[in-house]
Subunit: 237 residues, 2 copies
DNA sequence: GTAATAGTGTCTTTGAGACACTATCCC
DNA sequence: GGGATAGTGTCTCAAAGACACTATTAC
């Protein structure tokens, strides 16, 4: 820091500026009962007290190193999960979204392995199918935020293997396909799907199998690299 | 607004919270002399007075309806251009990027038609090749911000026709290809490129042509729909 | 004519989609 | 054997890449 900056800082106060309220909101997805679910919490304080809302809140200027840390902290507070897939979607800011005035929120979404949601320490939080969440009144503009996160997930499902992040430790290709189909709201051809996934080399075949009615299905597990994998071609909706 | 919220607001002050400084930064790209250039401005006030920086600044809580409006306003102030291609890249926030303390910036990039940059009212602003801008010291973390915007542009150039936004009113396919190649830092096969662009149906062939040395080249113009167009396949770097 | 730039013909390759087919299991 | 679920064989099609080729102009 140079001398001029030092001098400037001595006379600086953040309260000299009119600044907006800045927060982080999280859309946390998990597959429950073959449906894409989102985690909602009941607001315990005004404004919008009592309404369901996305988990989120303000940056802790002492504890949080950066804004991603804020997102991870919020996620951990609600789910006790440390390192899920987390991605920033978009930042929304305007005059009208919060009654307190000009407000900015940095929107993230996370994909949670369904195995882990049982260990959650949720008190006043509730999992709800996305479909349903979009129909009930939510606090602020949170309906819109869920739609934005869902659209991002949908788009990325067309050319990445991200939905693997929603799977339990072991899963069959048919189960994985069902998750893809749920996100895309569209049936996919079996043969193409298997070829696509298997050629990608992002799964590890196990010698275990699962019986879900009739013929045994082979169980696979994630190698963890699905986060970086891009299919050579995009599916078309 | 309900009664509880009204009461809450009466006792509310934004200064009750420790909040970060939130700003908007712009990476404005244009093609100049066959190079990708970025617009920089000299900082006239502390902190970092005298250094080159990205155009940007704070949200005007009175004037700006939403954060996109802030981005357009900043852009207009520096270039007098009203509606270029504008896209939000990412929001960066941490303790260390600004000496004033915890600071958040919403990063946008814009693509400017080279025809229009002559009408600019820039006083203390300067166009500089991206290459060069990344090598000199810039204010705050602006080197990193330019890299993020450049990466986004590069990625999108692999599967969209966005570079058309950088072209003048009339241009040849060879010129367009050169712009793609500059952004990607990679030669592209002529035949594939032309087929790809022409099949996309995003350009309008004119009956004019241009002589740049030897054989005349046909001139095309944008239909404006390149912003929404996605090629059926992604190029591989 | 030659050099230089613009533009085409056409073969190969890759991976998605269609769809009929086979395999394995329980009853 | 029948029904249900898992999984394969193989053809077609679209678009990218390779590369040799032709076209048009200035000189």
């Amino acid at each position: 820091m140079n001398k001029k900056d030092k001098k400037y800082l001595e006379n600086y106060s953040i309260h000299d500026f009119d600044i907006p309220l800045t927060s982080v909101d999280m859309v946390i997805f998990a597959m429950i009962n073959a449906k894409l679910n989102v985690l909602l919490v009941e607001r315990v304080e005004a404004p919008q007290q009592g309404m369901l809302a996305l988990p989120g809140g303000f940056i802790d200027l002492q504890k949080d190193e950066d804004i991603t840390a804020t997102a991870y902290r919020k996620l951990y507070e609600k789910t006790a999960i440390k390192s899920p897939y987390l991605e920033q979607v978009e930042t929304i800011g305007n005059k009208s979204r919060d009654i307190r005035g000009w407000s900015v929120t940095v929107l993230y979404y996370a994909l949670i392995n369904v195995d882990k949601i049982k260990q959650q320490k949720s008190q006043n939080s509730v999992w709800m199918p996305v479909e349903q969440a979009l129909k009930i009144p939510l606090a602020f503009d949170h309906i819109e935020l869920i739609e934005k996160a869902q659209n991002r997930l949908r788009e990325k499902t067309l050319y990445t293997a991200l939905p693997v992040e929603l799977m339990p430790e072991l899963f069959t290709l048919t189960e994985l396909q069902t998750v893809f189909e749920t996100i895309l709201a569209k049936k996919l051809p079996i043969k193409s799907f298997r070829r696509r996934i298997l050629n990608a080399n992002i799964l590890h075949a196990t010698d275990k199998s699962k019986l879900s009615g009739k013929r045994h299905a082979q169980l696979f597990k994630s190698t963890g690299i699905d986060r970086e994998y891009y299919f050579p071609r995009t599916l078309v909706l």
